[in-house]
């Protein structure tokens, strides 16, 4: 058992008695009650549990909670609020970039990291970037459209 200190969405948490085998995904959902991070396949294929770990996207089901000691985590709850969506969330709403919503937290977090790291000049590049995130409603068209629009806005172009 170990003590874990981690900052999640700007709030510092000190948690005692963390078992080494506790996954970051379960720590976020069960220990901290942050159920916005969704758990799908639990072996790194579906992307629903993706969070930002020190600013880089990472699968929380492929990370041990104990490994993020001292780190900063951003989950979907840290992107915006229902009253004040962030820019990417607004584009998802604008373009109806979700159906059942299960994959959405992972899509948003992945989208944030993609927007920061790649030009996303073409739909092919956006689709390549999203290839690690599964939407079983198969609603990819509107997710791609939302990210395309966010990429254009980020570059100061009208979408």
């Amino acid at each position: 058992m170990a003590r874990l200190t981690v900052t999640v969405n700007g709030i510092r948490h000190d948690v005692d008695d963390v078992e080494p085998r506790l996954l970051l995904s379960d720590f976020l959902r069960d220990t901290l009650g942050l159920t916005g991070t969704h758990v799908g396949c639990e072996h790194g294929v579906c992307g629903a549990c993706t969070v930002l770990l020190n600013g880089d996207s990472a699968r929380s089901c492929l990370t041990l909670a104990i490994q993020v000691n001292g780190a900063e985590i951003t989950t979907v709850e840290g992107l915006g609020t229902p009253e004040a969506l962030n820019a990417l969330q607004s584009e998802f709403r604008e373009h109806h970039g979700l159906q059942c919503g299960f994959c959405t937290p992972g899509m948003l977090i992945t989208g944030e990291d993609l927007l920061r790291k790649y030009p996303l000049a073409t739909d092919e590049e956006i689709r390549e970037g999203l290839s690690g995130n599964l939407c079983r409603c198969t609603g990819y068209q509107n997710i791609v459209a939302a990210i395309r629009s966010a990429a254009a806005l980020r570059q100061g172009k009208a979408p």
């Binding site: 639990e42 072996h43 993706t50 770990l53 880089d56 990472a58 699968r59 492929l62 990291d113 390549e128």
Partner: protein, 284 residues
């Protein structure tokens, strides 16, 4: 809890890590990026008693030139290799292959030492280690050992490391070439390859002075096709070279069928990718 119970240690130095791993009597596992190990833990396909987390060993994270080689520290993340200008200029085939290595979230965490140790027959970095004729440097209680890539990969998901050895760095000789290509097809972009080929070529007058060929997804380990390389050395660069190349590559491999693709389809795919790759390499 998905994984079975284990103890966790996070050493601060390589010698502490080697000591900690040796103390597990072969029951421990090294945790680097965790992108292959965590799924195995979650499925309880592996049940180590101790995880030795080497993420604190910053000295194992580097990309540098040493004589005629580029040396990459075992803890270097895929994303760092993908972005490295040094890799782009010295090891362009590797640079081009990196965007095929899984997905961004995996590349942010996964490490080259971890990928080589996992030894997936359809993963890019093991194939590139063979392709470049890399040397894998491992450290154990009795010191360092230099392992040529063609001895490192024993079988699917099996390397030649002793249970108490940790990969510390990998040396990639820089190839002299004037054309190259990397081609891959996966069911979903970023997934493991159904078939893939890497080619580097050096020309003289109208012929092939030297050629290097690596393939993956078509055997229990990645392969370097040395017999085809020898056959093509000195070959004329006429109109039939693409067909000849593709024919030699496919007849040198005998893929297996699995739930992702039949043997026939993999062979067809490899032949098509071979034609595309040689055309790209020769167009340079």
């Amino acid at each position: 809890m998905k994984p079975a119970r284990f103890d966790y240690v996070r050493p601060a130095t390589l010698s502490e890590a080697v000591e900690a791993l040796a103390a597990t009597d072969g029951e421990g596992k090294v945790l680097a990026g965790g992108q292959s190990l965590l799924p195995l833990l979650n499925f309880r396909m592996v049940r180590p008693t101790v995880l030795v987390d080497i993420n604190g060993l910053k000295e194992l994270s580097f990309i540098e030139t040493r004589r005629d080689s580029v040396v990459i520290g075992a803890l270097t993340r895929h994303r760092e290799i993908e972005q490295s200008p040094l890799i782009a200029s010295k090891l362009p085939v590797m640079s081009a292959a990196m965007r095929h290595v899984a997905h961004l979230a995996i590349r942010n965490r996964g490490t080259i030492g971890g990928s080589l140790s996992h030894a997936d027959p359809a993963a890019e970095l093991p194939m590139l280690a063979l392709f470049y004729g890399a040397t894998i440097v491992a450290e154990g209680p009795s010191g360092q050992r230099r392992i040529p890539a063609d001895e490192f990969f024993v079988d699917a998901l099996t390397n030649c490391l002793e249970p108490d050895e940790i990969v510390v760095e990998i040396e990639f000789p820089v190839l002299a070439h004037d054309g190259w290509a990397f081609e891959e097809v996966a069911r979903r972009f970023g997934d493991f390859a159904l078939a893939s080929i890497a080619v580097a070529i050096r020309r003289e007058q109208s012929g092939i002075a030297d050629i290097r060929i690596g393939v993956m997804g078509v055997a229990d380990t990645p392969l370097r096709l040395i017999s085809v390389e020898q056959e093509l050395r000195g070959a004329k660069l006429d109109g039939g070279v693409a067909d000849r190349f593709s024919g030699l590559v496919t007849s040198a491999t005998s893929p297996n069928s699995d739930l992702h693709a039949s043997a026939e389809y993999r062979r067809h795919l490899l032949g098509a990718l071979a034609k595309r790759a040689i055309a790209t390499a020769l167009a340079a």
